[in-house]
């Protein structure tokens, strides 16, 4: 999946501004960004509902504008707002969806039943869509893509309105979809969802790509992002602090009684060197606590704004 200089303008508002974006085959790419960052517009262009104002977008090498029907053959999307048919039951909606994507009729019913059970929709199979709760409707939206098993699966905020238990189930099913060979794009503004799902994360802000990488690399990119709190049996000696300063890798060292707080770029590199230096100087360590930066911190680092404040 690739976009080149993709732009979309609504009247005087630029929803996407020259976006260059790629997703590798078989990965879960999470697009993280606040509301209005252009996530949904990007997805709507990829699934051929909207046309870009300029630039190109290709899915599996197929141009979304020139060959929309072919793109729709290989793509499935779970919308941010559940799209159902008011007077239809969930199983009927899924049967129709499966039939439109040529799912083997012999396996269709079993697949639908299994997916509904996995997503705890089976008990609601006789309810009409209009009588489903927001969370149930949302799970049904996800179920459509799971039944379809497309080559490119797109989920737009898949767990908004879903309870915690349901979120975990949906996330596991999305990972399962990836494990079965689908390429997955998930747009979200939930940090926890991104951390759970992402092979790589793309941060969008004001219609532009800010950064794209795996979560560990994004976190490592924040200098001093890891915080290490070390507890000693005795008060921290000045000599130890001076020795630790010579190790490098620490942006700040703050001794306070028996504790030492260090901001480091890569805790996994710094901690072994710190324990060795402490041992050599006879300082006995009683505890070590490492705190990684969150994706909130990553977003703040790269955009200068807090993700949460944007919501």
């Amino acid at each position: 999946m690739e976009t080149i200089s993709l732009s979309k303008r609504y009247g005087k508002t630029d929803a996407l501004r020259g976006l260059n974006f790629t997703v590798d085959e078989g990965e879960i790419m999470v697009i993280l960004g606040p509301n209005g960052s252009g996530k949904t517009t990007l997805l709507m262009i990829l699934c051929t509902i909207l046309k870009p104002t300029s630039g190109t977008a290709k899915v599996m090498g197929i141009d979304v504008v020139e060959e929309g029907t072919k793109v729709r053959e290989v793509m499935g999307i779970a919308f941010q707002e559940a799209r159902g048919f008011w007077r239809h039951k969930p199983s009927s909606i899924l049967r129709f969806h499966a039939s439109m994507f040529d799912i083997d009729p012999a396996k269709r019913q079993e697949l639908i039943e299994g997916t509904m059970k996995d997503l705890e929709l089976w008990e609601s199979r006789d309810k009409k869509f209009m009588h489903l709760s927001g969370g149930q409707a949302k799970r049904l939206e996800t179920a459509k893509v799971l039944v379809q098993r497309p080559k490119l699966a797109i989920f737009d905020e898949p767990t908004s309105q879903v309870d915690l238990r349901g979120k975990r189930k949906i996330w596991d099913k999305i990972r399962e979809l990836r494990d079965h060979g689908s390429t997955v794009i998930v747009a979200t503004n939930e940090v926890r969802e991104a951390e759970y799902l992402a092979d790589r994360v793309t941060i969008l802000h004001q219609g532009q790509l800010v950064v794209r990488d795996s979560i560990p690399k994004l976190k490592d990119a924040i200098a001093g992002g890891d915080v290490v709190e070390v507890g000693f049996e005795d008060p921290v000696a000045d000599k130890l602090v001076e020795e630790l300063k010579t190790l490098g890798g620490a942006l700040s060292l703050s001794p306070d009684g028996n504790e030492l707080r260090a901001k480091v770029s890569r805790a996994e590199d710094w901690v072994p060197k710190m324990t060795s230096a402490s041992y050599n100087l006879g300082a006995k360590i009683s505890s070590i606590k490492i705190t990684e930066p969150s994706l909130d911190d990553v977003f703040l680092h790269f955009t200068g704004k807090a993700l949460v404040d944007q919501l």
Binding site: M44, T48, T69, R72, F79, E81, R83, F85, M100
Partner: protein, 254 residues
């Protein structure tokens, strides 16, 4: 093509899931015919022979028009209730999608108009198989044309639903009043008949009446009527295909 048929069948099943609307439509047709049809045919008297039959065909044209209007509204409702974006992600071409909508419209129109037509033909003693079939064909072509107009106008609803509904109401009033739905061109005043020639309903109504054996001296040339009705169906459906392709995909999703 299977997918287009599948989608059309799905929409038609939705339509059939609530048959109350059909019974209401037929009941309204019968009531209108019984009260106004019989009253007006007495008022018209000998100026237009068999006016009751003329009026009943006009009433069917109105049913076709309203049914086609329904398709346009259905399209707009789909957009606002979020079903249109879903349909647009299904693996069929945009023209295939429109064909499925048109099939839904045809089913809606035929279900509403065929029973009253057959009943009127039977009661009036004009029922012949060729006559009924060709009349249905004329009504079907007219329905396609009006459907094309309504879907083409649906882009207005993407800006403002209120304006769309107002345009539909205005269009309905103009197209029905300035047409031969209730009065033939031959008896219209000179200042009124040239406007009526512009309404597609004029051609649909006169063609249907011609197939049912109404006196040709009160009707337009049937070849001209058939050509115009067909041309309107083809051109408005093509226009609506362009509207879906160029305009609806260019605006923000509801």
């Amino acid at each position: 093509m299977n997918r287009v048929l599948n989608l059309a069948a799905f929409n038609i099943r939705v339509l059939l899931s609530d048959p109350t609307w059909f019974f209401l439509s037929w009941a309204l047709f019968a009531l209108q015919l019984a009260v106004y049809g019989s009253l007006m045919s007495k008022l018209v008297g000998s100026n237009l022979p068999n006016y009751f039959f003329f009026y009943s065909i006009g009433l069917m044209i109105i049913v076709v028009f309203e049914s086609a209007e329904d398709v346009g509204r259905h399209f707009v409702e789909n957009a606002h209730e979020g079903e249109l974006p879903y349909f647009l992600t299904l693996p069929i071409s945009r023209s295939g999608f429109l064909v499925s909508q048109a099939m839904y419209g045809v089913a809606n129109t035929l279900l509403k108009v065929a029973p009253p037509l057959l009943a009127v033909l039977f009661v009036s003693g004009n029922l012949t198989v060729p006559g009924a079939l060709f009349a249905l064909l004329a009504l079907f072509l007219l329905g396609l044309g009006i459907t094309g107009i309504m879907v083409s106008l649906s882009f207005i609803a993407f800006k403002a639903v209120d304006i769309y509904l107002a345009v539909l109401a205005g269009l309905s009033a103009l197209l029905v009043r300035f047409s031969t739905v209730f009065y033939p061109l031959a008896v219209m005043p000179n200042y009124y008949s040239p406007i009526s020639v512009l309404s597609p309903l004029t051609y649909g109504a006169d063609l249907t009446r011609w197939f049912l054996g109404f006196d040709p001296k009160y009707l337009l040339n049937p070849v001209l009527a058939a050509v115009v009705v067909t041309a309107i169906a083809v051109s408005t459906l093509s226009l609506s295909a362009r509207i879906v392709d160029k305009i609806i995909e260019g605006v923000k999703v509801a």
